[in-house]
Subunit: 349 residues, 2 copies
DNA sequence: ATTAAGAGCTTAATTGATTAAGAAGGGCGC
DNA sequence: GCGCCCTTCTTAATCAATTAAGCTCTTAAT
């Protein structure tokens, strides 16, 4: 079963390759009879149809959108925020009839062949740490690119939220309720897999721009409320999992004096903190207030959080890339919203 | 800014195109000096690197796995079972350093250009209804294909579970607890968007093979227990959502006599049934037993369900396709397991 | 001095299509 | 009978690479 190409069929019928091509892609250029015969022979020979790669080369379009995400794919699919974004992006892709090519970035070994070889028309980059080699590789491809959340790349469209403001809103909410002993649990500051207390230097050396900005928002709000940021306990975890959140929760709640409010930079982490509180028999929000981020897993748990329009962002990213105007260097900040639920209240006492 | 190709660089330097190609892909074939000069000029001209499409054409590999799913992508990303499967598939893709191309199947208009044009090395097809045109299109591509869950395509590898047996286990569980008044709520029987009671004919004319098999498993178990299947109320919903499950729940629980146990073919639906029970002030499992399917969203809710190894299935599918032996017509049934939690108990007597 | 080996580059075939432009033939009006 | 248009097909350029094989020189060994 040798390879069957347009030429094979052409030879068999004694017609030119062009004719066979027309039979598939431009029926009006051919007499019905010949066309039928061509399709018949194609079927007989087991022709798989015009080779998409060759077609793509000739037409100069790939029919796919590339998606880059900082984490392993298994992880990406486990993150409710990412999933929400994917949904939006997929909707845009679907409407345009193009595929969505999810590109793995081998963690550890930092080869980026997969970016170099991706047959796509544009790239959507989401949450890459500063200086990640994949970003350079993407830019080298000179295709339309839009970056979501981080990092900001001058000259390319950017989609995100006003991170410091959003984080500030979360912090001011609990401060406004009267809390003075805050604790912070954050994931995604570094890529070294470290879990534990983070001092000022570690906090600021974050390689994830958005997380850095978020932290800055917390700090600013605290300082405006007269708190000494240096005294706000700050726990860093390596993975955005409920289990990691629980660990952070235990660390923070084990302090003396115990924080009365804990800020987290993801909902998943916040859920873990709630678990820790439950472990210790603490009432939420009576003994402890908890704030999440992104409104991705918060509703059922009654979690106060910052809502982000993740689906809208995904769709906007897709449309921007597919509109061709994908290169317009636009910095678009989406609205966020503090959603107050049952996980926050004034401290007693 | 005209297009820059290998040739542009070659011309500029007065060397052959082959030389420039070697500079990128086979450094050992070139003197260091020339190679450096080539890379320099490439940079200067803004060369985007060897064109992946051309490369792919020449090398005969796409570096991507195609994934087909019956639903809209936004929906696929909302389905915990699908997500679990994706995770596994993505892990395999990641290990092999290939991308995962998610292909939208425009719902409604049934064009399948996207399948025809997909630049992939193999296809993974998941849960397609009988006779869906996309399947024919996939088979026409003559690439390695593996089908997951449905439909079974003779001559191609198939991955799934023993649906009738698994469904039977779910049914026998409640029957064994002493329930005699069962109700069934199922999604994904037809594509006509119908929600309501399904008579025998509608039940059996299901276009989704796996769901048909599942239903058969329920029926068999009921009949073996001496129940008249024709009297078991069967409610069909169009979408796999919690809201749809609640609707089904209300329909079933509004019957007189009221069922004491409800079987559902997804966990999401089961959660909706629990909502309906709560609406009506019914105790679970005291007044009502509920069984889900897939163990995709069941743990937190304490739902009794059938656990499927979705991640393992995804990984197996990926490895099968990437091993090249992807054409081996294997029919592999994965283990399932009845997980009994707090949503089922004996009916009170 | 002669030959073999090796380094460094070029030639040319190959991958599998699309499509503008041209050519051959038939039908029609004048 | 002549020119003109239309249909139907062919020719040939093009898309952007990879790579086996061949050609020149050096260099080293005999």
């Amino acid at each position: 079963m040798a390879k069957v190409t347009l030429q094979t069929i052409a030879d068999r019928l004694g017609v030119s390759r062009a004719t066979v091509s027309y039979a598939f892609s431009r029926p009006d250029q051919l007499s019905d009879g010949l066309r039928r015969r061509i399709l018949e022979v194609a079927d007989e020979l087991g022709y798989a149809g015009p080779n998409p790669t060759a077609r793509s080369l000739r037409l100069g379009r790939a029919g796919a959108l590339g998606l880059l995400f900082s984490e392993t794919l298994a992880y990406a699919f486990a993150d409710p925020y990412a999933i929400g974004f994917f949904q939006g992006l997929a909707t845009a892709a679907e409407d345009a009839g193009v595929g969505l090519l999810i590109l793995p970035l081998p963690h550890g070994d930092r080869r980026t062949d997969t970016v170099r070889d991706a047959v796509v028309d544009a790239f959507c980059v989401m949450s890459l740490p500063d200086g990640h080699p994949a970003l350079a590789e993407v830019l080298a491809r000179r295709l339309p690119v839009v970056v979501v959340d981080e990092p900001y790349v001058p000259g390319h469209p950017f989609l995100g939220i006003d991170e410091p403001a959003a984080a500030g809103a979360a912090a001011r909410h609990v401060l406004g309720l009267g809390h003075r002993r805050l604790g912070v649990a954050m994931v995604g500051l570094h890529e070294d897999g470290h879990t534990g207390w983070a001092d000022g230097e570690r906090q600021e050396s974050t390689v994830f721009e958005a997380m850095r900005a978020r932290r800055g928002g917390y700090q600013r709000a605290c300082e405006e409320a007269g708190l000494d940021w240096g005294r706000v306990p700050f726990y860093e975890v390596a993975r955005n999992s409920r289990e990691a959140g629980r660990r952070a929760g235990h660390a923070l709640l084990g302090l003396d004096p115990r924080p009365t409010a804990i800020l987290t930079n993801t909902d998943v982490l916040a859920l873990g903190v709630l678990d820790a509180a439950a472990d210790l028999g603490l009432e939420v929000p009576g003994d402890l207030s908890v704030v999440g981020f992104s409104d991705s897993a918060a509703e059922e748990a009654g979690l106060t959080t910052i809502r982000q329009a993740k689906q809208e962002m995904g769709e906007a990213a897709g449309r921007l890339l597919l509109s061709g105007a994908g290169a317009a260097p636009e910095r678009r900040l989406f609205p966020y919203e503090l959603v107050v639920r049952a996980s926050t209240a004034a401290p007693h006492g």
